[in-house]
Symmetry: C2
Subunit: 399 residues, 2 copies
Amino acid sequence: MDRLACYDCGETYPFGEAARCSCGEPLWFETDPDAVSWPDTGGRGAEAGAAGHDSLWRYESVLPAATPVGLAAAAGGTPLLRAPSIEPADGPRLHLKLEGTNPTGSFKDRGTAVGIGRLDGPIGTVSHGNMALSVAAHAAADGREAVILVAEDTPDSRLAMIAQHDPHLFRVRGDYGRLYEDTLERDLGVAFLNSDSPLRVAGQKTVAYEICEAFRPDAPDAIVLPVSSGGQASGVWKALRELRAAGLIEAVPRIYLAQAARCDPIARAFRRGAARVEPVTGEPTAAVSINNADPPSGNRALAAVEATDGAVASVSEDALLAETDRLAADAGISVEPSCAVATAAVRDLTESGDLGRDEDIAVILTGSGYKYGTPGAGTPSVREIDREDVPAAVRELST
Amino acid sequence: MDRLACYDCGETYPFGEAARCSCGEPLWFETDPDAVSWPDTGGRGAEAGAAGHDSLWRYESVLPAATPVGLAAAAGGTPLLRAPSIEPADGPRLHLKLEGTNPTGSFKDRGTAVGIGRLDGPIGTVSHGNMALSVAAHAAADGREAVILVAEDTPDSRLAMIAQHDPHLFRVRGDYGRLYEDTLERDLGVAFLNSDSPLRVAGQKTVAYEICEAFRPDAPDAIVLPVSSGGQASGVWKALRELRAAGLIEAVPRIYLAQAARCDPIARAFRRGAARVEPVTGEPTAAVSINNADPPSGNRALAAVEATDGAVASVSEDALLAETDRLAADAGISVEPSCAVATAAVRDLTESGDLGRDEDIAVILTGSGYKYGTPGAGTPSVREIDREDVPAAVRELST
């Protein structure tokens, strides 16, 4: 369980020895094939302290050795909901995975939970928002020091949210991609749990275990998710490989990734038919959390798509803003624009025939929109009224 | 299952016939004693569409007849976490119920889920925030019209959050308490699901079922929660009565309620030793969501406290703001000030000897703080730094 492997060249390393494969690609944990099975109902949740809640520790047998601490016991175990109201006419059937119900409101809590349960001492991360918040909160819950490095253009409102968990918070001027690499390559005395670290990818893979377990004995036809660094896409692929190898799913769901057109290096490589992702010069987009011009696990994400016969979609700025509004108004789900790209992509992929009308599609809604306000919305539509006039106004609506 | 009863005078009514008992007190659903049992593992969750997630429908046998629709299948099933980092020195042991992980970030989703699953047609509510958001989102998810009446002083940021779910949103000038009664007493052609409606109280009671089930075969010594209208307190009391009557718990946990000192009508009545709550003239408080000067279920909440040998605590403004910060910084949990009153009260109640050093105390953390910003915090503490200087700065921290 404690060896890392390269998905690309197959080289392996003991955990802790290498941040990247010598071929340059990111690593992930090897999993003992005998450990891959559907857990008995209940799992580790209760023991871990999150009684009544089936957390990601349900899949502990396929995770690297780690001890749930603090908030970790509350990560994962999120709902998967049908959402007929936003399905394209005549299908496919959409199943929405509500990752915004994690303790800090995003999918990032899964990787943080596993990482902080394995690593000792101070913990760090390089992030624009969701991961920064997640690491800061989990570190606080476990009484650890946290070092959070955010990019220069991170909005003040996000900083205030992160700062409430009392980390060492740095806003860094300079190249963000290089900063990410700095924290991997140099020994800073702090364990950095960045977006494509093997511990994080192990935690993130549990979302695909949950999705597939919900479909037992079948599996969804496809899984659609936003992509930024490629860490979550890698985790999904890893899970599907493990489940297929163990014979727990018969066919591997196709993996579809969605990016904002204003910053879409992985989609561009996919359209070129390339095996390698090239950095782009992105434009500012409302999809802040996936605005990653040089994704560290981009090649691996691309490989996941190729291996499963999926695709990578680019979503226009107008479409992702409209989709953010639509999810709130028609499905009752508030998401950030970085998340709405996924259901927007479903529309395009259905149109193009990539997704079949009679298919079951799981969509990973990565994070809650409530914590980031409502960027798509203008002035709220509110009627000011006197109490005396309420009955007449309400009756008028219902007739 | 479809009869309502008065906790106070015992009168019963068919559901739908009365909004209040003729004695003036609120009603709740009668529960068939034979239906009260611990559910088989799994319950209704998967069937209801929220696969992998044990929602409140696990306790369907003790709920009024209702069908989970839309987001309802994702309500409840929240984590219960130990939080040693914020426990008073030498105990008691705190178990935090993270209600902020519900779909719209608060405990209100429980009552909304049951209410919207029972009522047809357009749905309404009178609320300052959490309940308004919850009803608007659940209505959107089920394709219903929603009529949301908010008080005149509701902040614009809250309105924008509610408005994204596209309800008929009214900001009402005039007496808020009267407005609440108007919607109960008059037929407006819209089913109003207000904070102490019997359907809502039925949904809210599931949180106490979850807490007690997590402690099986024991029960916590006490349950501490914030109180506003008294609806959630009523739900907790109802659950404990049912569980005790069925012999599923041996002793009834004591119920402790917490209010902000600036608006604490129930605490005042408790201190007076009165059986009836009198309206107060509250002052503005950061605990916006519990700023209820004339609680409609106040007498019932007080009865719950008296019947279980609990108490009602008032928390000063300074203490509730400090506690909001402390939960974020020391427990990694962001809550709104209206929620932090509960753990602040634990401190005072431990000091006073109400809570024993060796007791297990469940605290209901009613809602996430992420969606409301960070009112307790000032300017975030951030260091601005160049990328080149990061390694030295981080190394300095870790030595």
